[in-house]
């Protein structure tokens, strides 16, 4: 399945197009105050990585992934007492989102983005639809198709 590869837009255009969505996402995740710091850090991280991007596909999903990672760090800092922490499953010392991102590396871009945002960052399909510029139903289908593909791949490995 080939997807059209888009060129990387100048950062100014990327930033202006996604800044409001990123701020809205962060406010929901970490609150109005913490969102401001996380907002700046999200786009600074995006800028640091920007000249290493290989194509301009799914940039909204990409920047929301950065924001989601920061939101996780930020809520860990904000709620340091162990019993209040939502338990994140950790295997081999790596948090769940890192595991899933790694596993999903070989998937087609839309499926990978949907799967990572759903299972690694626990975004709702409404949020994923915004990230992928798509509909909640299409986001759900992309995520489950990604899961099927991963399962098939694993089975294949086991049989080989």
């Amino acid at each position: 399945m080939m997807e059209a590869v888009t060129t990387i837009p100048p950062f100014e255009r990327f930033y202006v197009e996604h800044r409001d969505v990123v701020l809205g996402f962060l406010r929901k995740r970490v609150g109005v105050q913490a969102a401001e710091d996380a907002f700046q850090e999200t786009f600074l991280r995006a800028l640091r990585a920007y000249d290493r991007l290989e194509h301009g596909d799914h940039l909204r999903a990409w920047v929301l992934t950065i924001a989601a990672r920061l939101a996780i760090d930020s809520s860990r800092r904000a709620r340091p007492t162990a019993h209040e922490l939502p338990e994140l499953p950790i295997e081999d010392g790596r948090p769940a989102y890192a595991q899933i991102e790694h596993l999903a590396d070989g998937l087609p871009p839309t499926e990978r983005a949907a799967l990572v945002l759903r299972y690694a960052y626990d975004l709702s399909y409404d949020d994923i639809a915004v990230a992928l510029d798509s509909t909640p139903e299409a986001a759900r289908q992309a995520a489950s198709s990604g899961v099927r593909r991963l399962r098939a791949g694993r089975l294949h490995e086991r049989l080989a």
Partner: protein
């Protein structure tokens, strides 16, 4: 959820302070109209008479890299010196320029152009002679026409052999105005 101007500015300033930009640009108001001024970490790299950023983003990204961002501090120094120039308080710019993207001949010509003093004019032919190509007046005209950093690299000081103003990227009226400001025209 709209990003406030304050939060927006903080991000742009931080990105500039961290040195993350290939090019920072901003709109600079001037008596000859709004200018779009762009600078890289090598120096001032573009001045456009058409100050609408969307017109120039793609080309800036192609020439200098994709990390192009509007940023007031990135062009602060150029803005201050341009203000002083237009107020008649500055007759020479002290700015590094970034001529990446200019062909070798154009670069030679622009280097010579930078030496033409405030308040004086020269001709296309004279400039051609200074780069060792006295017959290349027409090619020099082309370089002037594509000057990436007008005003600071003073192509407005280059006129025809008969003293006529010939042409200018910002319009002949702007060329005339700049020469008048410098006292090169009465």
């Amino acid at each position: 959820m709209n990003v406030s101007p304050e939060l927006d500015r903080r991000f742009r300033d931080a990105a500039t302070a961290e040195g993350l930009l290939d090019v920072g640009f901003d709109v600079v108001e001037s008596p000859i109209g709004a200018l779009l001024v762009a600078a890289s970490d090598h120096g001032l790299c573009r001045i456009f008479f058409d100050a609408e950023p969307e017109q120039h983003l793609d080309r800036l990204a192609r020439t200098f890299g994709p990390r192009v961002l509007r940023s007031a501090p990135a062009v602060d120094n150029a803005r201050r010196q341009l203000d002083e120039y237009f107020e008649g308080r500055r007759d020479a710019f002290e700015l590094d320029v970034d001529l990446r993207g200019a062909a070798p001949f154009a670069r030679q010509v622009l280097d010579q152009l930078a030496l033409v003093p405030y308040g004086q004019t020269t001709t296309y032919g004279t400039l051609a002679g200074r780069v060792g190509a006295p017959r290349a007046a027409r090619a020099v005209g082309t370089v002037m026409n594509r000057n990436p950093i007008p005003i600071v690299l003073p192509c407005h000081r280059v006129v025809g052999a008969n003293g006529s103003l010939t042409g200018y990227g910002g319009g002949l009226d702007v060329k005339e105005r700049l020469l008048r400001l410098e006292g090169a025209l009465l």
